[in-house]
Symmetry: C2
Subunit: 322 residues, 2 copies
């Protein structure tokens, strides 16, 4: 039987990358040497089987997604990813699962040149807790509290296909197999907008940012609350995912505005930064869309393409009330 230490050695210990970790897996702590004068950005997410992913989820995709959702938090801060820890509870140490999971994890880690620097493994209900570390220059972080009145409201990429796939799996929405498969890529293999977030912070062209994980309306609500502002959102300007874009207006509005699992960035920036934002986004091949503006009046106002108010019954996802 695979022991805890063999498991770590075989699947999670790799030759050292030339990054900022002076000491990785195998001691009581990892040691990280921050760049001179840099701040460390830290985010921690826990994924629970049956809650954040289906029982029996493909291990490769799960490895990818577990790291991706954490990198998305770094992206929303504008930090450069450096490394991460992994705490893993597993019902059993199964080689095929470990092989897939570790490949999914490290393929994404390699894409961003970051290192697994430590963690923990234990027996238990399948639960994945990743804590990710990034660095950024002091005062460059994209904070939720930094939105200003008259800022434009921007969204990266497209929204709603992950939610559409979930609806397809749950048979809440009829989807043919090809459409489900296409939409499900967004659910299973989200790509964190790390490069865009870094540029927005480094070039100091954005004010506030958040990553969209619980649905745009709910997540944008955190920016509004923490910045003490309101916003008007053109729901019909929201960029729908390729599959969702083919569906009826009501579904498109609902899933772009409050789908969840999108892992796109929502950010605010002054109108004077429009061309700089478009250039930055183009330089990292990330589409961005202007979808509204920040208002002095508190609250979020939804409107359609003509500017008429929309009254959608939407809410963000809450783990304890839903």
């Amino acid at each position: 039987m695979l022991s805890e230490f063999d498991l770590i050695k075989e699947y999670f210990q790799r030759p050292r990358h030339p990054v900022r970790a002076s000491l990785g897996i195998g001691d009581d702590c990892a040691l990280l040497t921050p760049g001179a004068g840099m701040q460390t950005a830290i985010s921690s997410d826990m994924l629970v089987e049956g809650r954040h992913f289906f029982a029996g989820e493909d291990a490769y995709r799960l490895g990818h997604k577990s790291l991706a959702v954490n990198l998305s938090d770094l992206a929303a801060m504008g930090a450069r990813p450096v490394g991460f820890t992994l705490a893993l509870a597993l019902p059993a140490a199964e080689r095929s699962w470990l092989d897939g999971f570790s490949r999914g994890l490290f393929d994404l880690a390699d894409a961003f040149n970051i290192e697994l620097i430590g963690g923990d493994t234990t027996k238990g209900p399948l639960t994945i807790c990743i804590t990710v570390f990034g660095e950024l220059a002091p005062d460059s972080a994209l904070r939720r509290s930094a939105a200003q009145v008259d800022d434009d409201l921007w969204i990266s990429g497209t929204l709603g296909d992950a939610r559409l796939a979930l609806a397809g799996y749950r048979h809440e929405v009829a989807l043919d197999a090809a459409s489900l498969q296409a939409a499900a890529v967004r659910m299973h293999l989200p790509v964190p907008r790390v490069e865009l977030g870094m540029l927005l912070a480094q070039q100091r062209i954005a004010h506030a940012a958040i990553d969209i994980s619980d649905g745009l309306v709910g997540d944008l609500g955190h920016i509004l609350a923490q910045s003490g502002v309101g916003a008007t959102l053109d729901v019909d300007a929201l960029p729908a995912g390729a599959v969702l874009a083919t569906r009826e207006t009501a579904l498109r509005r609902a899933y772009t505005a409050a789908g969840g699992d999108d892992y796109e960035l929502c950010f605010t920036a002054p109108a004077s930064a429009r061309s700089a934002i478009l250039a930055a986004a183009a330089s990292v091949a990330t589409p961005v869309s202007r979808v509204g503006r920040i208002d002095a009046a508190s609250g979020l106002r939804l409107c359609d393409a003509s500017g008429a108010p929309l009254d959608l019954a939407l809410q963000g996802f809450d783990h304890f009330t839903s």
Copy 2:
């Protein structure tokens, strides 16, 4: 019903401490500003109900222990604790549980003047993942790989009472109620040896160190393997916990040498450092005992008080094979 955001606000968000966290709970990431030229030590532990603690465990004790086991890893590195993140999966958001857990957590955090800087909450089987951050001067870390031949082998505090309490709960060993209660304090409310670890590192008087969580023999084995050395351990010199000390020799030997859940430090240091170590330990009111020595010959030799070899069938705890 208590929402995820209310839960965080009510139980885990506190007025900012004047520590190194520039931005705590409530944004996509926490921001930590390391001291100039300092390294960051990072450790992550996951505690699963039914595995690391009994179902129905008292919430206050669980809050304490969850943080204590992580601080013990910082202690074993010699790092000064700075802050931590908490990822928490809970079957339900129960106020009485959250109140007890957060009090246990913050009472210990306050004792070390550290701050909860971020995390995650979700519904799921009760699972607690804490990632803790400390800082230390470059090249001062107490590494597992640093033991040298002829080093003394030292243990802080006492060993085995936590294991004795577990045996009492499991009815493997007959314990009267008072003894069980006394021993159980070590199981439920371990005190991480942070001050001792920091002194050993800062004064550069110890070579290698590890914290004893899976049983001394198993944990010491990591030092030996990573340092490429062996050791001779005087099992009868191992300091037994107050309750275990009253029990028969065989039980005392087994539970001091391979009990687990001790959260004491095992460290090595040259004989020339003996008086400095005793002075450092006395200055932080932490007993230390010299229990063996590091040898060039690989392997761990156990002996009794007379120096005669002991053949105990011991093994460290492994989460996937036990």
